[in-house]
């Protein structure tokens, strides 16, 4: 009996750039980087058809470690950058990456509006509660009353809930992963890339240098005072259903969003996996319907922009 073997054309290493990585040893970022590379390999997206776009910070260096088109932009501006790139070159698989301060702090306005726009892109947020590259100041996701060893005082601001914010902004795929569970994170990222619409993947990321609260041991539930059981659990191993089955049903959308917020706000348990998924037309779909942009438009080969006749415009003004 003949057997067929799947031969992977693009291996994980094909997405790895040959460059020295300067993240701290043990940084959670390594797990996220590998997960993205695994996801791309799983989906067999040719490296030259991928663009990874980051903001600024430790996470901002991610594009340098990718063997893809790579843009390390400005602090907080990953989403505007992704937006411009995707609309110019809609055939690319575009992945935005950035930190929690980048996305939920300085880039908060962009975060909100990227969700509303719903381009067919993926946004991975490296969430470690601190601004690490500037030596550990409090970020928007640090909980009120908490103080890492890098902070001089405890935080007196409420923590932002990225899941709830993402849902409020209109992200059509909202998920969360854990940087040190690389295999499952890769699965989530792959789902996010496959999702037609803007995918938000918030990732619990350990910062071994500045965040001494949410460490690997803490996520394992083994810190003194913890039960010994990890607070993390997988939503897909429960009867949780993230999918909106009828996207025209506003009640169902509201229910699915409410359920996602409820599970994301549990005091002692940290669910990971897909919280919410809803398939609606993307921004590009609307542009295509209007006749503005074809989704297979390739600026390298399509010269239609340079063959425009402005005579009708001038005639209308005569």
């Amino acid at each position: 009996m003949a057997t067929t073997t799947t031969k992977f054309e693009f291996k994980i290493k094909d997405y790895k750039a040959e460059i020295h990585n300067d993240w701290c040893p043990g940084c959670g970022d390594f797990g996220i980087l590998t997960a993205i590379q695994m996801a791309l390999s799983k989906l067999q997206v040719p490296p030259h058809k991928v663009a990874v776009v980051s903001g600024i910070g430790c996470s901002g260096k991610t594009p340098h470690y990718m063997q893809t088109y790579a843009f390390h932009t400005l602090h907080g501006r990953a989403m505007p950058s992704v937006t411009g790139l995707k609309l110019a070159n809609p055939g690319l698989t575009v992945i935005g990456v950035g930190g929690d301060g980048d996305g939920y702090g300085i880039g908060a306005g962009h975060f909100v509006n990227a969700g509303r726009r719903n381009l067919n892109i993926t946004y991975v947020v490296f969430n470690n509660d601190v601004y690490a590259l500037t030596k550990g100041q409090a970020s928007p996701t640090i909980q009120k009353g908490m103080k890492t060893k890098s902070m001089s005082e405890e935080s007196i601001m409420e923590a932002l809930n990225p899941i709830a914010l993402g849902l409020a902004c209109g992200y059509t795929f909202v998920a969360r992963g854990y940087a040190l569970d690389v295999k499952y994170l890769a699965e989530i990222v792959a789902q996010g890339i496959q999702h037609r619409g803007t995918s938000l993947i918030d990732v619990y990321q350990t910062c071994p240098t500045y965040n001494d609260l949410h460490t690997k041991t803490w996520y394992e539930g083994k810190k003194p005072g913890q039960s010994g059981q990890s607070p993390l659990y997988r939503l897909d191993q429960t009867d949780y259903d993230p999918l909106v089955h009828d996207p025209t049903d506003r009640r169902e959308i509201a229910q699915k969003k409410a359920q996602a917020i409820l599970v994301s706000e549990q005091p002692d348990r940290l669910p990971i996996g897909v919280f919410y998924r809803c398939l609606v037309p993307t921004y590009e779909d609307f542009l295509e319907k209007r006749g503005v942009l074809k989704q297979d438009f390739d600026p390298a080969t399509n010269d239609s922009h340079f063959r425009r006749d402005i005579t009708p415009l001038l005639e209308a003004l005569a």
Binding site: A51, T73, L74, L87, A88, V292, L313
Partner: protein
Amino acid sequence: MAAKTASHNSFSWMIGGPQGSGINLGAEILGKALCRAGYYVFANIEYHSNIKGKHSYYRLRISDRRVGSHVEEIHLLVALDEETLFGDLYHEFPAHAGHIHEVAEGGAILFEEGGQISPPAIQERLNGRSVHLFPMPYSRIVDQALATVGKAGQAHEYRIMNNTAAIGAATALLGFNFDHVAEVMLSGFHGKARKVGEMNVYCARAAHDYVREHFHGKIEFGLPTAPANRPTQIMIKGTQAVGIGKLKAGCGIQTYYPISPATDESVYLEEHQAEYGLVVLQTEDEVSAIDAAVMAAHGGVRASTSTSGPGFALMPEGLGFAAMTEAPGPVVCIYQRGGPSTGLPTRHEQGDLSFALHAGQSDIPRIVLAPGDLTECFYDTFDAFNYADRYQIPVIVMLDKHLATIYVTVPPYETEGLTFDRGALYDPQRDANGHYMRYRFNDSGISPRSIPGQEGGIFWTTSDEHDQVGHISEGVGNRLVKMTKRMNKMGMAEREIPDAKKFALFGRQDAPACIVSWGSTKGPLLDALARLDPEQQNYSFLQLRLLLPFPAEAVTKLLKPAAKIIVLECNYSGQLASLLREKTGIQAHHRILKYDGRPFSEDEVVTALEQTVAGGPEQLTVADGKVVDPAPYGRAEVERLLELRERSAKMAPPMVPLPPGYNR
């Protein structure tokens, strides 16, 4: 009485009324009709940052030769409300005293009979000057028109149609063929709306006939004779000229955040985005607008964004990013308005020059262009994209409220000789050897760029200093090469861009006085010089169109023979004069400045130049049609208005909000 031709061979017409009363539409219909009939028209509008009710006015200057500015006097004033004539004297601190004082001796005022405006009040304010008054029974005329669609007796609900009637009446007073107006008026109505169009034409015609019947031969000023055989021309605004320039240049994405007076350009492009396959992206702020444009340029399409001073204030971050990553663009159009801060959102100024030249971190290469009229707006915008691609550099096009909103007769744009320069591109044949480097050092200083998606063209880039590959580098050697690589583009652009695109010299090079200016002052300057110095003996005018890289050598040479160098511009400090000094060491002898939020008129330039060459001071400030000592003049003006308000207690209440008839 035979109509005489107004001074300066042109007829000056104005319509004023509350915002929302349709004065734009009416003025533009008349302007387009006059253009089609062979005239040259220059029109400009002044309006408030307000949606409905505040005073706005639209001027048309109609001439037998090309004109590029307005004049102070008005030959026919169409007043749709009392404020147009007398100002906002109902206000606790009035801002203006209306336009009645601008009406020329022998000129005319058209107003509603039995309405808000009383003829005795007009006479009182005319103070003995002879001006013809034409009271019009608008509601009767509008009612007649409404009767044709079964809405007789509802004129009070359709006050907006007073504007239509006024256009018809003005057409008759001008002695202009009504058919031209009817044709343009109807062209705006299609399908089912055709009936509404016909009703409007009926209304305008009824007003026209009323004037012919009752006021025949009563106007002193008439239109000049239209020149014979004037080639076909278009009527266009600056925002459209720039928009069409972008479309022709192959722009693939325009990003913007709404801001006066830039928004109309993006809206115009939006209206045509499907026809031309152009993405118009409205972003959440200007930070996002410029970043999206930079990345679209990296992504492989030509990209631009349009804004005003307060919006550009959010863009230096993205400008630096574009320059650092050597993106091919974007083209950034800055429509300047009165500043600082929110300033005068709908008023004119050329106050962002210094900001545009210097905005950013460290040293940022950029090209700064300054078109001076609506022909140059098209061609400079087109060229901007070529420069962006060729030098992989951001290009700023300096525009302003005046250029944005003027509505002018111009020759249709010639696209025959236009060519596209996409600069150095990645060649898969040549470069796909596994060692492609986006920022490879080479002799030209411009590294071939790949477009994402191209096999073998993968590159990295970052806003950090980076090496040839695009990875972060803080090395000294690399830093030196990269900094010079980026900044050398300025020298390249200066060498390669032809002089004809950098500046223009009008008049004799050895004229005793040379006026140096930039941007939208070109129109009033050329008009003023045609009047002041028709033989071109006394003045030359050096118009600077490329402000960065500054053509220092050529400018120094051109200015050498001038005994007097006069810089004229619309800002407080003389920002071009500073640039001239910085780049050439030449200190202008005189500065003529205007920063009252309004553009120069022909008369203002004439007066200021006359005073300057007659031994005037180093700096003259112009406002309200004259040379003024700004602070004392402004204070006296404020006090005069307050006094006027005391004396005219009977001023009608403001039309804010507008009565329901305007809400159609």
